[in-house]
């Protein structure tokens, strides 16, 4: 009872729950149709019907319905309120594949509430499937294919229906696919009817029925156990055997056989009419001996209906051997280092290619026959034979041998050592074509037995190792049958071979394929000038050329300038760049070009010269010449005017050591013959002669003079004991001429060692005849130096001479050693006056000294004579020039006599230059 109560309670609860959930889930309305599927481009109308209960609950009606598609409100133009509970919406030309359509109400006038929703699917009804075809692979179920037509955009089911007249088979269904494999094994020799039915929400269509016997759609399995066997009797046949596919021998199959050589890629077709009858073996003929062949086979129903099977597995077979079909290529090389009586020959031949060997070559037989002598037989396994031959002519024959037989013999004539080859091939050409290197030539006029084509790679790194091949005499164009490399230079040689020996070989270079050089030429300067530079470079090594160098290009530029490119022929190895700027840095880069491109070499820089070659010389030489000329002219001028120059710059100073005490008496005749002097001083000029009295004034010693005096004294002491009045005078050694002043006079009087020499001061300076003969005393050459150092004084004197002729001459005598430079301007005149007075005193003093100091006498006499001479000249009215000349010549004579310079350079104190007498 309790259990019943419990059950009832549970039932009530479940009922109430269900009711409540139903109440909750129950929508306010519905959309019809509930699962719309429409055809694209067609119109569609949906209606939304609200329940009365909702109308009351939410106080709405159909006018409150809002339609939405994919959450977007539908325009009101598409909406129609049919009645109080129903609203409809119409769509035209729906193109979207799936559209969500919802019916909503505005409860209480503003709250949107979803009532119901549906998904509209659009698409197309299926097209009628076409091109239905079936295939029955052997051992498998039948599979049919069809063309479904247009895309439906809807789920479309294709059902393959098949049936006999008396039985239907299970359908084969597929979605979206265009093929289907049935679940049963078709029965052969029974026609079956097949169709395919396409169906989706918008329609169902069926294809045309096809009725066929499945055996006519069979695709057999490929034949198997294909085997190949050869025949020892016939080296050109191979026999194939195989087993056809299953069907237990039900079906008669014909075969399709193809074969090829092992290395070939294309198949050779056995004519189908030869294999039309069902068979399981076949013999293939006209094959090459000792050649490996590959076979394959497939089958189809004898009547040709159905499908070809796949190809069988390939089977290999080798035809039996035969004797070689051709003799080997045969050539020889004579060793260059042979003696006079014998020579070494290297006979070489090419191994026959398999297509000509027709079997395994067991050995080669070489027969050497000397002229009119017995022959020698050699059996060689390799492809060369080195034999020693005499200088005679030989005939060599070569045969190749297989286990079936020997080839024909190839004969070669090895001429005697004295054979002269002739007749080369002409017009030899080599060119690449179709990735082969072809050689073409014109045969020589003489009948040729064959041609030997040799080639090797030219390289700087490896020797030329030739390869070769033989061509028949009818051939004049062939390609090199070797593994040639690209970008390598081949030296090809063609030698015609005549019956009596080889002809003259012809050679040519060629490339299989050219490329750009692997490196560019390295350029350098050979010569650099101001506006041009000569560049030079080396030819590229053949390994770097990679082709025939067609031309070079030279690019050069300055740092800021434009690049200039010049093309140069490949035969050149130097080039001159012209129109360059001087003293400019140029960058040069050079490239070598083949037919396939170029390669730049390293960049090179050079700087042009500032001057052109010879330009410096052109400047320097004329300048030097001009300088030399000027110098020469100057020298000549000086030479010509040496007297004048000497007079101004370097006047002769009588050597005191050569002086003689002249007869101070005007009546004393001159001791010396002055004729020569007259000649020397032909112009009458006479060097200013000054008589400088240098006194060693103890009372008023001038520091310099005293110093000099001391030095002079020392020298005097150190001399051989000669004494001189001059040398003993301290003023004499002074660098300044002594001035005949009162003080000086005193100095002279007080110094017993004072030596005075007189100089005849001739006033004939510059052709001016002095009005007064002045006799003065001189004891040093320094006054001359002073005048030399102070030319202005001379000039000044010159000017003064014009007004007062005597004054300039007297200035020397007036120079004061203590104040040589004081009041230079005024002192001239002053000194002149003093000199005049001084000179008179000097004369008196001189006389006294002569009497007191006999040593001074000669000097005094000389001076006196000079003076007398001067005065005599003056008295005679002679020109001053002549007087001076005479005077100087006397001095010169003196100098010549004792090899002492004529003049006394002021700073030059020669040994004995001031030697007092």
């Amino acid at each position: 009872m309790s259990a019943l109560r419990t059950w009832l309670v549970q039932a009530v609860l479940i009922f109430l729950t269900t009711e409540s959930i139903g109440e909750i889930l129950e929508p306010c309305g519905f959309i019809y149709p509930e699962f719309p599927v429409i055809q694209r481009g067609s119109n569609f109308t949906a209606i939304c019907v609200l329940k009365e209960k909702c109308l009351r609950q939410y106080d709405v009606n159909a006018s409150y319905i809002v339609w939405k598609t994919n959450h977007v409100a539908v325009p009101k133009e598409q909406v129609t309120v049919i009645n109080r509970t129903t609203s409809s919406v119409t769509f035209t030309d729906i193109i979207l594949q799936a559209v969500q359509l919802t019916c909503n109400i505005l409860s209480f006038g503003q709250i949107e509430q979803n009532v119901y929703g549906v998904t509209i699917l659009s698409g197309f009804p299926p097209d009628i499937p076409t091109n239905l075809s079936c295939i029955v692979p052997e051992g498998k179920n039948m599979q049919c294919r069809w063309d479904p037509g247009r895309e439906t955009y809807l789920e479309t089911t294709y059902t393959l229906k098949s049936q006999w007249a008396t039985e239907k088979f299970p359908d084969c269904q597929t979605k979206y696919n265009t093929s289907c494999m049935v679940s049963y094994t078709p029965v052969y020799f029974v026609n079956i009817e097949v169709s395919v039915e396409a169906e989706n929400a918008l329609g169902k269509v069926s294809s045309e029925l096809i009725n066929f016997d499945p055996v006519d759609k069979v695709k057999p399995n490929p034949p198997h156990n294909l085997s190949v066997s050869n025949s020892e009797e016939l080296s050109s046949i191979l026999k194939l055997t195989w087993i056809n596919s299953g069907f237990g021998g039900i079906l008669r199959l014909k075969s399709d056989i193809q074969y090829r050589t092992k290395d070939a890629s294309t198949w050779i077709q056995v004519p189908l009419e030869d294999t039309v009858s069902p068979r399981t073996s076949f013999t293939i003929q006209d094959l090459k001996p000792f050649t490996e062949y590959v076979f394959r086979i497939r089958s189809i129903k004898e009547d040709g209906r159905g499908y070809w099977s796949d190809w069988s597995e390939e089977a290999h077979g080798i035809t039996y051997e035969d004797r070689p079909s051709k003799p080997p290529s045969f050539w020889y090389k004579i060793n260059s280092s042979h003696t006079q009586e014998s020579r070494s020959a290297r006979l070489i031949w090419k191994a026959l290619p398999p297509s000509e060997a027709n079997g395994k070559i067991l050995d080669y037989e070489v027969i050497l026959t000397q002229w009119k002598s017995l022959s020698q037989n050699y059996s060689v396994r390799g492809t060369e034979l080195i034999v020693n031959l005499t200088n005679s002519r030989y005939i060599a024959s070569l045969t190749a041998r297989t286990k079936v037989g020997k080839s024909d013999a190839t004969v070669l004539t090895i001429p005697s050592s004295y054979f002269k080859a002739s007749y080369p091939v002409v017009d030899l050409k080599a060119f690449p074509k179709d990735n082969k290197l072809w050689v073409e030539w014109t045969p020589p006029p003489k009948s040729v037995s064959k041609y030997i084509v040799e080639w090797c790679v030219l390289s700087d790194e490896a020797p030329c190792t030739p390869d070769w091949q033989q061509e028949d005499n009818t051939v004049n164009k062939t390609y090199l049958r070797g593994s040639l490399l690209e970008s390598k230079c081949y030296l090809i040689t063609v030698t015609p071979v005549f019956t009596n020996g080889p002809g003259i070989p012809g050679s040519i270079k060629a490339y299989l394929k050219q490329a750009a050089p692997s490196k560019g030429p390295t350029v350098r300067t050979k010569k650099v000038g101001k506006n041009e530079a000569v560049l030079e470079w080396d030819q590229l090594p053949v390994d770097a050329q990679n082709g025939f160098i067609r031309n070079y290009s030279i690019s050069y530029k300055t740092i800021a300038g434009n690049e200039i490119v010049v093309n140069v022929d490949s035969s050149h190895t130097e080039y001159t760049l012209s129109s360059l700027s001087s003293d400019t840095l140029y960058m040069v880069r050079m490239a070598a070009y083949t037919d396939e491109g170029g390669k730049d070499g390293p960049e090179f820089t050079f700087t042009t010269s500032k001057f052109a070659q010879g330009e410096i010389e052109a400047i320097v030489v004329p300048v030097c010449l001009a300088f030399l000329l000027t110098t020469l002219l100057g020298v000549l001028f000086c030479f010509n005017k040496r007297d004048l120059i000497k007079k101004h710059i370097w006047p002769n100073v009588p050597d005191p050591s050569k002086s003689h005490i002249a007869q101070w008496s005007p009546h004393t005749p001159p001791r010396h013959n002055f004729n020569s002097k007259d000649q020397m001083y032909s112009d009458g000029n006479f060097t200013d002669v000054s008589v400088v009295e240098i006194e060693a004034n103890n009372k008023k010693p001038c520091p310099d003079d005293l110093k000099s005096l001391d030095l002079f004294k020392k020298e005097k002491l150190s001399t051989e004991g000669h004494s001189s009045g001059i040398g003993g005078s301290s003023c004499m050694s002074s660098s300044r001429p002594s001035i005949s002043s009162s003080e000086e006079n005193e100095c002279a009087q007080s110094t017993a060692s004072t030596v005075q020499y007189s100089t005849v001061v001739h006033s004939g300076y510059r052709h001016q005849v002095p009005s007064v003969q002045v006799f003065s005393r001189s004891e040093s050459t320094q006054p001359l130096l002073d005048s030399e150092e102070r030319p202005e004084d001379l000039q000044l004197l010159d000017s003064v001479d014009s007004s007062e002729e005597i004054l300039p001459r007297q200035q020397y005598f007036k120079q004061n050693c203590s104040q040589p430079e004081a009041s230079p301007d005024s002192s001239h005149f002053e000194r002149s006056n003093q000199a005049l007075s001084g000179s008179e005193e000097g004369l008196i003093r001189l006389k006294q000294q002569q009497g007191s100091d006999p040593i001074l006498q000669p000097c005094g006499s000389e001076q006196r004579s000079l003076f007398q001479e001067s005065s005599a000249a003056h008295a005679l009215g002679m020109g001053t020039d002549g007087q001076v000349e005479r005077f100087e010549s006397a001095g010169m004579e003196t100098a010549n006599d004792e090899e002492i310079p004529k003049s006394y350079l002021p700073q030059t104190v020669r040994q004995g230059g001031y030697v007092p007498q």
């Binding site: 007249a165 049963y184 020799f189 009817e193 055996v215």
Partner: protein, 240 residues
């Protein structure tokens, strides 16, 4: 005029129904009797070969010894002899073949139950399908010859070999032997059918009715209660 229209309408309707029934009847069949005959001959050749079914069965059932094999080679009563078949008219022949193969198919189905796994004896299923295919071609040929198949009477067993009572449950070995004999009989029957059909193709059927052999065995045929004997079908020239 008003009377003619209904008459024409009725005629058109009758013809349409006739064509539709014909079309329905021949649907799925080849419309070439020569092809059908060729197919039947091919099928007879296939099924007449003992390698297609009997030998696999013998190997599978270990009935290989020659003594056992010889025990199989007995004509079972279920299959008419070749002479009997040759003596039949074409419609009767076709009917006989159709009916006999129906029984064979059933028997093969029974035989299939002996094997737990059908893949162990795929030839059996293949033979069932072939049997049904032959029946389909026979049906089509009969239709094409305008001789709708009638259910033939069971073939009369040979008088010298009484059939075993089917009520007794044979032993397994005996069942194998019986199945072996059945299969041998089936192959032999199909071989006979093939030969008869070949004669059809050779045109010997024309003179067959007048051959001494046929005349000699005609009496035996007449003894059989056959509907076809009562209403012989018209002869149709089988296209070559």
């Amino acid at each position: 005029m008003q009377a003619q229209l209904p008459q024409r309408t009725l005629l058109s309707f009758a013809l349409s129904v006739l064509f539709l029934s014909m079309a329905r009847a021949t649907r799925g069949c080849s419309n070439s009797s020569q092809q059908l005959l060729s197919q039947l001959q091919s099928q007879a050749n296939i099924t007449g070969d003992t390698r297609s079914l009997l030998e696999p069965y013998v190997r599978l059932q270990n009935l290989n010894p020659s003594t056992l094999r010889e025990g199989c080679h007995r004509q079972p009563a279920a299959f008419p002899s070749e002479d009997a078949l040759r003596a039949l008219s074409k419609p009767h022949f076709l009917s006989t073949v159709y009916v006999t193969l129906g029984r064979v198919r059933h028997q093969l189905g029974t035989l299939r139950q002996q094997f737990v796994k059908t893949q162990d004896f795929p030839e059996l299923e293949r033979a069932r399908q072939n049997t049904q295919g032959i029946r389909n071609n026979v049906y089509c040929l009969a239709r094409l010859l305008h001789h709708p198949l009638e259910t033939p009477e069971p073939t009369q067993a040979e008088p010298t070999r009484p059939s075993r009572p089917t009520t007794t449950t044979p032993s397994i070995f005996q069942a194998k032997i019986d199945s072996c004999r059945f299969l041998w009989g089936y192959h032999r029957f199909m071989g006979s059918v093939g030969r008869v059909l070949r004669e059809w193709g050779d045109g010997s059927s024309r003179s067959r009715r007048h051959s001494p052999l046929r005349a000699r065995r005609k009496g035996a045929r007449r003894n059989r209660p056959s509907a076809s004997s009562r209403s012989p079908a018209p002869r149709v020239q089988v296209p070559r």
